[in-house]
Symmetry: C2
Amino acid sequence: MGCPENDASLAAKVLLSADLRGVDSHGVARLTGYIRLWEAKRVNATPSIKIVHETPSTAVVDGDAGLGLVVAPFAMQVAIDKAKNVGTGWVSVRNSNHFGIAGYHAMMALPHDMIGIAMTNASALVAPTFSVERMLGTNPIAVAIPAGKEPSFVADFATTTASNGKLEILQRKNAMAPLGWVQDNAGNASTNANELKKGGSMLPLGSDREHGSHKGYALGGIVDIFSAVLSGASYGPWAPPFPAYVPMPENMPGQGLGHFFGAMRIDAFRTADEFKQHMDNWITRFRNAKPAGADRVLIPGDPEREMEKERMGSGIPVVDSVVEELRGAGEKFDITL
Amino acid sequence: MGCPENDASLAAKVLLSADLRGVDSHGVARLTGYIRLWEAKRVNATPSIKIVHETPSTAVVDGDAGLGLVVAPFAMQVAIDKAKNVGTGWVSVRNSNHFGIAGYHAMMALPHDMIGIAMTNASALVAPTFSVERMLGTNPIAVAIPAGKEPSFVADFATTTASNGKLEILQRKNAMAPLGWVQDNAGNASTNANELKKGGSMLPLGSDREHGSHKGYALGGIVDIFSAVLSGASYGPWAPPFPAYVPMPENMPGQGLGHFFGAMRIDAFRTADEFKQHMDNWITRFRNAKPAGADRVLIPGDPEREMEKERMGSGIPVVDSVVEELRGAGEKFDITL
């Protein structure tokens, strides 16, 4: 595509981190989608990523329509540098594209003894409470918190009941979705995993009003506002769609997708050693809580870490259709797989 | 109790804001609970609230066991002052008590054209996904975001499926709880609104694993860590219980309850005018989304604002049992109601 070599390696690293962590929907399976966005001139392979406004603890970054996989690590590094200087750093990003897994960017803070936060808006697939229309993306939040002897606490989740990746798995299997994941195009509860293809919507975390969907809607809204209204990206139902064949929304109120990153230096609050000892205590106590319905209580990040360990040994299984797509992309660019 | 007059008025103002906004469980109904904590020597009526550590964008505040209703506004003001200087301010608080509604503190940022964030840990009533034990409080998060002509976006929610206040209403009515709100003491789904009295637990937002309870658990964990592990308060199952008759947990790893506050100056990202115009556009578009199951789609903060308008006119209804308790408290302190 013409990406500088450093950018290409970084983008590959971010995608691979998703596959290693078991988030197959955000790994190499997305590569051809990025290529199609580049072909549609929506991704700029040689962006000039810039800070356009800043204070000691904040910045707005313009991604110049680059791959989010490259724009996001740039912006997260700005947050980390600001945290080194004044304790915390907060960066809102406009004019970007899909940034892969949020967890990768949040985890960049960990080696610096910082807490990392990453979020992004995304194309509208989710209906707020009492809405028939899709107004928000799956708008994920990732928070990475360092520990001492224990592995870090890494939460990385869509602000919906289930991620779009999980719906896609059901679609491939022709299986039904649990009630509470999607609604049909009239706002009725549905178990059809293909409901989105008929104008239906995904549901905010909480599923319905009685089970707190207004909280998931509020969370998705906060992610949208921090990522896009603060930065000048396009927000809500105007967020640019990921599939290149979907026309861009009319009257977009900003540029591209938006992200939001935060870094907080632990020793801006208490010594890193003390904090990590208490995190070890927190993690150990929660892991040893009396379990029900499973062998043990998990710490956020446990399943992904176990998957990474397994796949570092045995490799990453890739489904045939993705292999075919990657071969096709290789031929297009004269690269043999 | 011996509170300085300014502290007493501030505490009353915070409690009244809850009653006005319809969050009756966090208003004057709590007053006698605070008095009992003071009688048990767990609340210090004349605290010396102090910053014990700081950087340009962060601080740790020690509440000296004061009423959270007084400690929290102090700490939020520190966050606002830091945001004035370096763009954002982030304050973690230890050695505090119950702080009333989170929304009050977050909304302190609004007149300064800042986004306000407030969260707190609380006594353990909530079982993480796959846990039988109660490990977390209802750990609320509030985020207040200024708009222009439209009213502000104010989200204020417990990170559980339903708040404890809603459970208490069902208990008073002898009504059943919807499935997904609580589990029994063996970790089974239950509709008994009194389950907590028999060793059962509240459930994280999402209700069960299939509907994303691991996300609500992660959110509750993040609130606990930001509020208490960062500051040196007591966390997880060791958070001090609100009822004064419940013994304090053994081996507490920190001091009192913890809170976390944030303030972000809008113009640390883009001009406040531009931001507010886009917030108005965001709010108007969401409010006009095609509705189902209700007359219209709500913006976070709408129900509380409507309730406040109503109660400013017609007064605040207070249930008889609370009136009796308040009369009793008045007699104790020689105050006639």
